[in-house]
Amino acid sequence: MSDLNKLTIAEARDALRRGETTAVELTNACLSTIEDSSALGTFVHNTPDLALARAEAADQRIKSGEAPALCGVPIGIKDLFCTEGVESQAASKILSGFRPAYESTVSARLRDAGAVMLGKLNMDEFAMGSSNETSVYGPAVNPWRANGSDQNLTPGGSSGGSAAAVAADLCLGATGTDTGGSIRQPAAFTGTVGLKPTYGRCSRWGIVAFASSLDQAGPMTKTVRDAAIMGAAMMGHDPKDSTSADLPVPDFEALLTGDIRGKTIGIPREYRVDGMPEEIEKLWADGAAMLKDAGAELRDISLPHTKYALPAYYVIAPAEASSNLARYDGVRFGYRAELSQGDGITELYEKTRAEGFGAEVKRRIMIGTYVLSAGFYDAYYNRARRVRSLIKRDFEEVFAAGVDAILTPATPSAAFELGKKVADPVEMYLNDVFTVTVNLAGLPGVALPTGLSSAGLPLGLQLIGRPFEEGDLLNTAYVLETAAGFVAKPNKWW
């Protein structure tokens, strides 16, 4: 078989089981493609020896006839996941050299299912960013370029390396994490599928924490079917994360029936934002029409507190980040600043954190510190938590009225140029306007490509589902994917 790295997870699984290829062949195909693709800046810590050892073990397991779906499938792991003995830096200088002595629950589940880790993937520092430009490694680059242009575009963020690697066929799937849109926005920018599961579906244990009440890991893949397969392998109860849901994980792939007759799809009027490009409006209307043609009923709905989601997020997420990132003090792991004569422990903390964190991370830690400080806690933090209750209630009311899923654009634009938005933090934050509500309400959301912009760049739609009904959500996404028939791939320039 040729171009093994271009297979989907489902195709690779079937080919492996039929004996048409081996995990070692698949892994070698990906490793040589990765070597060729350094211009994309996706893989930041390569683990080829480990990958080949795991691939050999996977081949043994497949031969024995006892092999889970992911056995032998080469994947990439976002740098935010702790991986035993392998650098795990959250794309930050402050974790330089950090090699965890343990494996995160999600990456351990994938490893135990036989998936082959090829290496660690680029991201925004501590997952704070929407363009992958806050990374200490430098940005990952989108394999897509606008027609006739040689300008490098962002793959989105924070899971930009994961999205770019999957879009460029460097791996068959990748892990991402999503705190405000960090799986879905990069998926939309790269023509890939990204699933953010319900809060509590994936264990957060061993994933470097950003905002614990919002963080959720999920799969980034080439197809909805692959998201179903990889997602199911990542999810499940974990006693080591007290917020992990003790619920069975269904066989999502078996739920991809392609039948959504009688389902009700909500179209929220508040997502029609000022200045939205016409091609995004059209993409959205076309997507709705496809679901209607498949037998779903469309319903105009209102989620009245939508416009307050981003401001609430930019209180809650920095507040939680300022607490979570207090642990980076130069004492127990990672970077420590050089001290001057007479410096004490306070200078050790202050210099280490000043030198170890990048500008955006420092900005968010300090905003978080401010909104939690005496005198402002009620005005900012408690108010934001109250608004969060209202945002969640908006969704609960819509679901209680019989809506099965909600269709929205995934992003307000196609991928933008690297360097274009770094100067204005608030403008960068607006990237998450359609995705952040889902994190605040703890819901599952999936982004998938359904069209191309006039410049030839992928555009994605988002479907939002009821809590813990990822199977139903993915089935609706599968119908949309089939109807949209998105097959475009980036032209190789790298």
Binding site: Y199, P311, M366, T369
Partner: protein, 95 residues
Amino acid sequence: MSIDTETAARVAKLARIKVDPAELPSLASEFNAILGFIEQLSELDVSDIEPMTSVAPQRLKARVDEVTDGNQQSKVLSNAPDAREGFFAVPKVVE
């Protein structure tokens, strides 16, 4: 609400991040831009709404109270920038 350089310096101190005094004015203006964006939240009447404590309607589970781990001193110290004689080493704290 507007943040002056003195407040910016206080926040940096609370966050244990060293900031060069020359950078305080631009830091304060960045804070003000972000807080201006957040200010929209004050448009809403939330007096009757409970602050969210957990997004999922579930009780946190208590683990069985038993020892499951331990005796990993070398692993715990393996990533320390400065470890000596089984301890994390830091500059002198007590005179």
